[in-house]
């Protein structure tokens, strides 16, 4: 990768100095940002690998790369920049960007960098992830050499199938999480060191087999109740539960742990898509229009900015909703349009011209970017006026006409739907109920049904993968068309019981 990117020089270096000084001036707070310039192929590679120059070998990175490359070749999409949540914060710029684009992009990057450092949901992410990811790659490559690429890849595929079964709440278990990670890192390092030492291999494999048999005993240990096991304290972290309780080979546990770490690393970004992009857009817009923009660049800037902010009838643009919501909050706190006095005022004229000249807007949005995630952001600041101004609607497929049609513009419907899509980062909430279901060592998961059924086709295939990890029958309790339904896979057949 080293020869694919290069540091800034010349004009870009001067621009960086300039944009950096504005970011500081406006009070943005970030870890040092290291800009690198690269060509489109490199930026496609980085994007396909979640921003990181080095990952473990897996076909899905190849798939994403395939799609990004085709999209670029057909002129449909172009990635201007990639920024990674690390310390120092790495940011990659596309060398084909115009100078004005580079300015926008740098301002945008400083916005992201500030968000990464300050938003509460990012407080426990490992800022050293660049090295950690590379290390994961080395370990998995080594396993592949030892056990065969197909075998290891197949296991990774299975784990990826349950990658979304993690617990948002765990992002705050700071010290505990940290200790676990350090422990794992230590044993992993020991293992790599041990590998170099031929003599210890026999001993190690003896220890491993002993460990394993103890583990299996523990799982099969009969329990009297088939209610939820007492010991599950983070039932939504199914990955962790399996790590602790499934009969896995050492290399398998290691990979499961690695993929779980990576899933948790990316989780905060999935929880704050609207806030993060909105914040970065707010700041590129503010910095450009108040400081950095030259008269000759206005048209290009407006064109670029409008492209990023484009509204779509099919989808919600997180950049657009995000930036508008921050601006709305800033306006409301500047003019005092919040709190009981404003909310209970029924004089429309007074409300329309409400202005208490509080000037609290800027500090309010800084506070918001620190404490909220997308769900609470929308829940707290998404108002009927905002909803109407943004011309939001929900749509639905109409089987009679065979097309998607606008369903409603009703505020509470829209808000409800938006929150529904955002809650639990868009994944169904699934908890481990028991590892000894029916007193037969079966795994029972429960889907907390909040109105939308699971896709049972996908669920069946997921169970198949879960079975390969758990090695005993696996069950999920959910609802289908209002009826409690248990879907079971016993290694050969699927069974549905109401």
């Amino acid at each position: 990768m080293a020869d694919r990117t290069r540091p800034l020089d010349g004009e870009l270096l001067r621009i960086r100095e300039e944009i950096h000084s504005y970011a500081i001036e406006f009070g943005l707070d970030f870890y040092p940002v290291r800009f690198e310039v690269c060509d489109y192929d490199t930026i496609n590679i980085l994007a396909a690998q979640g921003g990181f120059p080095s990952r473990y070998p897996h076909w899905r990175f190849g798939m994403d790369y395939d799609q990004l490359s085709k999209g670029y070749a057909y002129g449909l999409q172009k990635i201007y920049e990639m920024v990674i949540n690390t310390n120092p914060c790495y940011a990659y710029l596309l060398n084909a960007n115009h100078i004005v684009d580079q300015k926008i992009v740098m301002a945008h990057v400083y916005g992201h960098a500030d968000f990464f450092k300050n938003n509460a949901w990012f407080s426990t992410t490992d800022r050293n992830m660049m090295a950690v990811m590379a290390n994961h790659g080395t370990k998995i490559r080594r396993y592949m050499e030892r056990f065969g690429q197909n075998k290891v890849e197949e296991f990774i595929d299975r784990v990826l199938s349950i990658e979304n079964l993690i617990d948002v709440g765990i992002l705050f278990e700071t010290s505990d999480l940290k200790r676990q990670r350090e422990e794992r890192l230590k044993t992993a390092n020991d293992e790599i060191a041990n590998e170099l030492d031929e003599r210890s291999n026999a001993l190690k494999s003896f220890m491993r087999s002993k460990e394993k048999s103890e583990k299996i005993l523990e799982v099969i240990k009969p329990e009297t109740s088939d209610l939820r096991d007492k010991k599950i304290n983070a039932p939504r972290d199914v990955m962790f539960y399996l790590l602790e309780n499934a009969p896995l080979e050492d290399w398998e546990s290691d990979i499961l742990g690695i993929l779980r770490d990576e899933a948790y690393y990316f989780l905060p970004q999935r929880l704050t898509k609207i806030m993060n992009e909105g914040w970065a857009s707010y700041w590129h817009s503010h910095i450009m229009t108040n400081r950095a923009l030259k008269a000759s660049e206005i048209i290009d800037y407006a064109d670029h900015h409008a492209g990023v902010m484009a509204m779509s009838k099919q989808n919600i643009n997180p950049y657009k909703i995000g930036i508008e919501l921050y601006r709305d909050i800033e306006f409301r706190w500047n003019s005092g349009r919040f709190g009981k006095e404003y909310n209970t005022c029924d004089d429309m004229h007074a409300k329309l011209n409400w202005n208490k000249n509080l000037g609290l807007g800027r500090s309010k949005i800084f506070e918001v970017r620190k404490t909220h995630n997308d769900v609470s952001f929308i829940d707290e600041f998404f108002t009927p006026e905002f909803c109407e101004r943004q011309q939001l609607f929900t749509y639905k497929y109409n089987p009679r006409t065979g097309r998607n049609e606008i369903e409603t513009r009703d505020f509470s419907d829209i808000k409800g739907k938006l929150l529904g899509q955002l809650s639990n980062f868009g994944s169904p909430i699934i908890e481990v109920e028991s590892g000894n279901y029916q007193n037969r060592g079966e795994l029972l998961l429960v889907h907390k049904h909040l109105g939308i059924d699971l896709d049972f086709g996908y669920a069946s295939d997921t169970l198949r993968n879960l079975f390969a990890i758990w090695k005993r029958p696996v069950n999920i309790l959910s609802k289908q068309e209002e009826q409690n339904t248990i879907l079971t896979f016993d290694g050969r057949d699927f069974k549905q019981s109401k």
Binding site: T42, I45, P57, H58, W59, R60, G62, M63, Y65, D66, Q67, Y74, G75, L76, N150, S161, N164, K273, I274, M311, K313, Q314, N315, I316, P318, Y319, K320, Q390, Q391, L392, F393, T394, Y395, K396, Y397, G402, R403, N404, E405, I406, E407, T408, I414, K417, L418, Q421, F425, G426, S427, P428, H447, I452, D453, L454, D455, Y458, S460, T462, R464, I476
Partner: protein, 371 residues
């Protein structure tokens, strides 16, 4: 050294092609074939492999958008687009389809590339000379519509400078009559190959809408490819049940007849068309016949084989028969042709089209030999 992602990429392509990791096959959505959307743009589905996860069923889920319109207004204009992709906000992954504005030429080259189609070798001696006019030169006379502004103003400026009337402080250039220049054509003799495609489709009762859709899609792509190979191409359409008639394109795809099937009727009409309009010495002739393979009687099949042997095969480049699977068709005609011509007769290409997904393979059957 190349970046390691190229290895991931190669591995992904191999999985998609079904060469390794066979157990992933059911999750692969192949996406090599662009589909026309009717407004000049095409959807280019990209191959992808779906990892199964616990996720919400998308029935009735719909989505959210921004913009004007009243409730009940369509949001994507097109009818029959199928359900849109709801799901996570701002995450338009899910369905990995690109919508692109492409010219037919570009599309043909994508198709050729994806299917690794060989270029067609036209029948050599039948190349016809033709005269085309190309606007490659400049003349002093011509109609206003062909006026060459740049050259005209250049002439005027030359004249003004030469005659000393050009004023550097008021650099106006005004052409007069003799400055005007026009694009002019040169006659060029080119040798080109012409081709005619004659589509025949069985529209008897057993060919349902799904079967016709398959024929429609397939013929669109065949036309596209042949058009990219021949400068001049004519397309004729014949439909038949127990009798055959020539129709225009629209009727060809819309008609739903019923009744029995006499394949010979179509072949006879095809023979007549060739005899009256297309001299095999000058034309590359491509008869395509699509049917579900249920001919009326063995006698008629015999008659078909006779017509093929005596008239159609000698005059055409290749005769293609595509058999669309239907619930009612017996598929007997394919077997008859196969037993007569075998699988690798150079003049006859047979292909079975099981469902929509098999269209690509079938196109490859037909065009993959470069005939």
């Amino acid at each position: 050294m190349d970046h390691p992602i190229k290895r991931d990429h190669a591995r992904f392509r191999k999985i998609v092609k079904g060469r390794i990791r066979d157990n992933l096959r059911k999750y692969v959505s192949k996406g090599e074939m662009p589909t026309p959307k009717g407004d000049g743009t095409f959807k280019i589905p990209m191959p992808s492999i779906d990892t199964p996860r616990f996720k919400f069923g998308d029935r009735n889920q719909g989505g959210m958008g921004q913009g004007n319109g009243d409730s009940g207004d369509p949001i994507d204009g097109q009818e029959g687009e199928g359900p849109g992709q709801g799901g996570e906000v701002g995450n338009s992954s899910g369905n990995k389809e690109l919508e692109v504005d492409l010219t037919l030429d570009e599309l043909a080259s994508i198709l050729g590339e994806e299917l690794a189609l060989p270029r067609i070798e036209p029948k050599g001696k039948k190349a016809m000379p033709s005269v085309t006019n190309k606007y490659t030169s400049i003349g002093m006379t011509g109609p206003n519509s062909l006026k060459h502004f740049k050259r005209t103003y250049r002439e005027a400026m030359k004249r003004q400078i030469a005659s000393g009337t050009y004023d550097f402080f008021d650099p106006r250039v005004i052409p007069v009559k003799r400055d005007f220049r026009y694009r002019a054509s040169d006659a060029k003799i080119e040798f080109e190959n012409s081709a005619v495609v004659i589509y025949m489709m069985d529209v008897s009762g057993s060919m349902g809408d799904e079967q016709k859709e398959i024929v429609r899609t397939e013929s669109f792509w065949i036309n596209l490819w042949l058009k990219s190979q021949y400068k001049d191409i004519e397309v004729r359409y014949i439909i038949h049940d127990a009798t055959a008639k020539e129709v225009d394109e629209e009727t060809f795809f819309k008609t739903r007849e019923s009744g029995g099937t006499l394949i010979s009727s179509a072949l006879k009409l095809c023979r007549e068309i060739i005899q009256s309009d297309y001299d095999p010495n000058e034309w590359n002739i491509y008869p395509f016949h699509f049917s579900d393979g249920d001919n009326w009687s063995a006698d008629d099949t015999k008659l078909c084989l006779e017509i093929l042997d005596q008239d159609l095969l000698p005059s055409s480049n290749v005769f293609c028969y595509g058999q669309v699977e239907s619930r009612y068709g017996s598929g007997q005609f394919y077997k008859d042709l196969a037993s007569r011509y075998g699988e690798d007769d150079p003049k006859v290409i047979l292909s079975k089209i099981k469902n929509k997904d098999a269209i690509l393979d079938s196109i490859k059957d037909f065009l993959g030999k470069g005939k």
